[in-house]
């Protein structure tokens, strides 16, 4: 018997609000099953269970906001998936105890809830001056505290937000602002802490697009591919060869990752951005990559993605798609050490075999962490991705 607890989906997550139970008492659960939906500053996230068993009792009620680590349900006959999980399990008899009271029920007013929030004096003062509800913000300070810059980012984001369309409720605005605050804080930290270097490479993309058109012509819309799928796969394969762009910078050193989990930056309509991962993309066939990509985009659109998808990426692709501009210079998403940007393919005069010809070209950019690699290595990595895109049939 063990407790299923509110997971931590990121260093900056302190609590989550239970939105929906997807299992009920008596249901069999297996490791990896999605059992609940939790609302966080980053949106609604489906949470998985890491051990199997039978749901004996649901402790948390829908609507409750609970700190990370709070028991949500009792799972009977569970087998801890690891030693670490065992350590987390409740000791004998503890399961009988009533659940601790929620830190802040959703019915609480902002004013009362505000008290329980960890925020610095500077953040509180700025928030008070601008009537900002700190509950909407994600902290980037010590122990996840909301600090001055978090509120400042929120305010900048709020200033940029268009007037809310009819029917948009304040909580939605708030969530978006919170997400903007979180993005701002993360990116500010990345810019501050990571010594970025940048490379760009422009090359012919005709072959890939032609191949895609030929392939798609034979397929129904539900099985067609988009160029983004090629980019994900090409990047994933290149990461296998160049391990120093795939992994994490932690505690002052680089940890390479064996799995290549490609985070894919996806815009949220109305503002915001998440980069959920396509796990082990290097091992997936192209149609499977496309399927995962499509699934992610659809779920992001309605705000449902798994915590492990948000935290699992080992490298990120940021693609502008077909309606953007020629290039972008992305910021690394820590603790990752590299991000590849793909611009919008453009048609331009190109010299091929000594003659000027029309060609569709793609500009790929790489931002990488100088603590791990250098420009020479980065250039080879970027060239490898481009080379793979010249042979789409082998992807």
């Amino acid at each position: 018997m063990s407790e299923f607890r509110m997971p931590s989906l990121g260093a900056d997550m302190e609590a989550g609000t239970l939105v929906e139970w997807l299992k009920k008492p008596g249901d069999q659960v297996a490791p990896g099953d999605v059992v609940a939906v939790v609302e966080t500053q980053k949106g609604a996230i489906e949470i998985e269970i890491f051990e199997g068993g039978i749901v004996e009792r649901l402790i948390a009620k829908v609507g409750e906001t609970l700190p990370v680590g709070s028991p949500l349900a009792i799972i009977a006959g569970s087998q801890p998936s690891s030693v670490a999980q065992a350590a987390h399990s409740a000791p004998e008899g503890q399961a009988e105890r009533p659940a601790p009271p929620p830190v802040a029920a959703v019915t609480e007013t902002a004013a009362t809830a505000q008290r329980g929030i960890r925020a610095s004096p500077a953040a509180r003062k700025l928030a008070a001056e601008h009537h900002v509800d700190l509950e909407a913000l994600t902290g980037s300070g010590p122990e996840g505290a909301i600090v001055y810059v978090d509120v400042e980012n929120w305010l900048h984001a709020a200033a940029r937000q268009p007037a809310s369309p009819p029917g948009t409720s304040p909580p939605v605005r708030r969530e978006r602002a919170a997400m903007r605050g979180a993005i701002g804080a993360t990116m500010a930290r990345a810019k501050r802490e990571i010594p970025h270097y940048y490379l760009q490479h422009t090359f012919e993309f005709d072959r890939a697009l032609d191949w895609l058109a030929r392939t798609n012509a034979a397929l129904g819309p539900d099985r067609r591919l988009v160029p983004g799928a090629l980019l994900v796969k090409a990047l994933a394969l290149a990461c296998r060869q160049f391990a120093d762009f795939n992994g994490y910078w932690r505690d002052g050193h680089f940890e390479a990752s064996r799995a290549v989990n490609v985070g894919t930056a996806i815009s949220i309509p109305g503002g915001g951005l998440v980069a959920p991962a396509i796990m082990e993309a290097d091992r997936l066939e192209l149609p499977a990559v496309m399927e995962r990509l499509r699934d992610l985009v659809n779920r992001v659109r309605v705000g449902r993605y798994r915590g492990s998808e948000l935290t699992g990426a080992t490298v990120t692709l940021s693609s502008l798609g077909e309606r953007g501009v020629e290039g972008l210079w992305p910021i690394i998403n820590p603790p990752q050490v590299a991000i590849v940007g793909a611009g919008t393919p453009v048609e331009r005069p190109w010299i091929r075999d000594g003659r000027v010809v029309p060609a569709v070209t793609l500009m790929l950019t790489l931002a990488a962490d100088h603590r791990v690699s250098d420009g020479h290595r980065g250039a080879r990595f970027l060239a490898a991705i481009a080379a793979k895109l010249q042979e789409p049939e082998r992807l």
């Binding site: 058109a213 819309p221 539900d222 983004g228 309509p269 659109r301 309605v302």
Partner: protein, 85 residues
């Protein structure tokens, strides 16, 4: 199927694709990809539901003709299977 019936179906599907957008104010001439913030995959989803719900398979080469609501209505009116029946 009248153009108005067709429009209701399209708006219904577009509403699912972009639940956060108020479609009542949608300009029929505007680019749906802009107005609804549809990326290539969302647009592909749109094409997929046209196949599933209306039986119209739109080749990639024809995509530009369906970028606006009025363009899509025109295209579908021409390609709906029941019209040929």
């Amino acid at each position: 199927m009248t153009r108005d019936e067709l429009r209701l179906i399209l708006l219904d599907e577009l509403g699912r694709l972009a639940p956060e957008v108020d479609l009542a104010s949608l300009d029929e001439q505007s680019d749906l990809r802009e107005a609804l913030e549809l990326d290539s995959i969302s647009f592909l989803n749109f094409m997929t539901v046209l196949d599933m719900r209306l039986g119209v398979v739109v080749p990639e080469a024809d995509y530009p003709m369906l970028y606006s609501l009025s363009g899509a209505l025109d295209y579908l009116e021409r390609h709906l299977p029941d019209r040929r029946n």
